[in-house]
């Protein structure tokens, strides 16, 4: 059948807009690769395993930043996951129906708060609190573990992980809630009819049913944590070190990019930063790809 002019025009315009997305991604990768050439040329694969970051003598290595990025995101996940699942269970299974939209809205509002505000709150409220109460207490009782050794200075890996966890809770909670809502009533009723309690239905029916979807939700949250910049930069301490202690300052890729781009005066310095950006891009893409894959697999399995 012949398309009328209007249809053809809208199809043409939409196709162009859609192609722009594809072109953008290709262009970003191209620019990142091109910018990294001097650094890749100079350091090769050693860039990934070197922990020196010395702009004066122009020795650059990505390891402390990769470490800081991944570890702070993992800490965020460890804290955010149980809280988010709790919120999602409350919203999908337990809360009285009239309460649900209000609480859902508040969870989503958390995601709308600009990250600079999280950063300010983190720096002026959370960090002093960690320094005065949380870290000394952890040090006193668990100081024998390398994780909680060292001086309680407030800013550092722990502060970065906690601020990130607050920022990814809305993502994980909202996606988990949607996944729990897809568990058919049919199976929950079968559980109730067998004499399961509300908790047993959640544990034995809702959770197993939602498992791979939850993995997707977790990965989406993790992907967000990896790239988060402003708030982390303000509380993580910004020192390119690899320490076992959570109290020690650290540095993430996103933070070093934000902090040092204006200072990067030499070609190699700039190129090393761009290569860091490329590494962050690859890590984020990998996690997002795995997340999508798991979500798709979950959908097609039903």
């Amino acid at each position: 059948m012949k398309l009328v002019t209007g249809d053809r025009a809208i199809r043409f315009i939409a196709t162009i807009f859609a192609s722009v997305i594809l072109a953008l991604i290709v262009l970003i990768v191209y620019e990142l690769l091109k910018g990294s050439v001097p650094s890749i040329h100079k350091f090769g694969l050693k860039f990934l395993v070197t922990s020196t970051w010395d702009p004066v003598s122009e020795h650059f290595g990505a390891l402390p930043f990769v470490f800081g990025t991944i570890v702070s995101s993992v800490i965020a996940l460890v804290i955010a996951l149980p809280v988010s699942i709790g919120i999602a269970v409350f919203l999908s299974e337990l809360a009285p129906r009239p309460v649900r939209p209000a609480v859902s809205l508040m969870v989503e509002l958390l995601a709308a708060i600009p990250s600079i505000i999280y950063g300010l709150w983190g720096l002026f409220v959370m960090v002093p609190f960690l320094q005065m109460y949380v870290e000394p207490a952890l040090g006193r009782y668990f100081g024998f573990l390398p994780l909680f050794s060292g001086a309680p200075i407030g800013v550092g890996m722990l502060a970065g992980g906690i601020i990130l966890s607050i920022m990814i809770i809305p993502t994980i909670a909202a996606v988990s809630r949607d996944i729990f809502n897809t568990v058919p009533m049919l199976y929950k009723e079968a559980g109730f009819a067998l004499g399961m309690t509300r908790w047993e239905v959640i544990e034995k029916i809702v959770f197993p049913h939602a498992r791979s979807g939850l993995i997707g939700a977790v990965m989406l949250g993790f992907g967000r944590a990896l790239g988060e910049t402003m708030a982390v930069t303000m509380v993580i301490g910004n020192a390119p070190t690899i320490a076992a202690s959570l109290f020690a300052p650290s540095y993430t890729i996103a933070s070093v990019l934000a902090n040092e781009f204006t200072e990067a005066t030499t070609k190699l310095y700039l190129s090393s930063l761009i290569e860091l950006a490329l590494i962050l891009f690859v890590i984020s893409m990998l996690f997002n790809a795995v997340a999508r894959l798991l979500v798709i697999r979950e959908r097609t399995a039903k």
Partner: protein
């Protein structure tokens, strides 16, 4: 025969919509009681009130009394979880847990009742599957996912899962309506076999099925119980004109 369930002035609502009105009926022990009526007459809601699963739905409400062996399951001190362990239910659509194997499906309720010993659980699973006439078909693939079974097998698995916890009453909500005629016949046969041990209430829109399997029949229309009597009397000598119209196929 003794009265297993005594239902008095039972009403149920979904929000503002009343689904059943002032139902009063006695269910005989070890008998099969059929509930018939056209779609939307409240027969499903009625049985869902008997194990307090109606209230799992949002905005659902119930009033009236349902006495199980003389004790009201809706009294303030009654725990719906314990009620449901005594009054099991088989649903219209076969709903074995898709994340569990055949064995785990039958064992699910048994474990809830605190049975931990593996040999005892295995015994119960085997006995229940045999009672549900499914053992021969699945004994070599107990650890396959329950979803690999056919619809009729899945429904017999749900029956096995229900009787594994040894309830006193088994509610069946159109258990064969999603099945082919051969599977339906097997389910009906099964009801005949297990009624010695359980009190059965079965909802059906199939009048021949009610006539074949039940001892007593109640006819529901627009949320009200129109007539309740021995099945033979309902089908040969209905007292109410509306019952007669329905069973002779003049409406519904």
């Amino acid at each position: 025969m003794a009265k297993k369930l005594v239902i008095e002035h039972l009403n149920a609502w979904f929000g503002a919509v009343q689904a059943i009105r002032d139902i009063t009926i006695d269910i005989e022990e070890n008998g099969v009681t059929a509930v018939i009526g056209p779609s939307g007459c409240g027969k499903t809601t009625f049985v869902r009130c008997l194990n307090r699963i109606h209230e799992v739905v949002d905005n659902a409400m119930v009033s009236g009394r349902v006495m199980l062996d003389g004790v009201d399951i809706y009294s303030k001190t009654s725990d719906p979880v314990l009620v449901r362990r005594r009054i099991g239910m088989v649903f219209q659509k076969p709903n074995p847990f898709p994340t569990m194997s055949i064995f785990e499906n039958v064992a699910a309720g048994v474990k809830l009742n605190g049975v931990r010993r593996k040999d005892r659980i295995a015994d119960t699973v085997e006995r229940s599957l045999k009672s549900a006439a499914l053992w021969e078909e699945v004994k070599d693939k107990l650890h396959k996912p329950a979803t690999t079974l056919s619809g009729g097998q899945q429904q017999r698995l749900c029956i096995a899962r229900t009787i594994a916890i040894e309830p006193e009453v088994v509610l069946m909500d159109e258990p064969a309506s999603a099945l082919d005629p051969i599977s339906t016949a097997r389910i009906e046969e099964l009801i005949q076999q297990i009624k010695e041990r359980y009190t059965i209430v079965i909802v059906t829109h199939n009048m021949q099925q009610a006539a074949r399997v039940s001892d007593y029949t109640g006819f529901f229309l627009l949320g009200e119980l129109i007539e309740f009597d021995r099945t033979s009397d309902i089908f040969t000598n209905p007292r109410d004109k509306r019952t007669e119209d329905y069973i002779t196929g003049r409406f519904g």
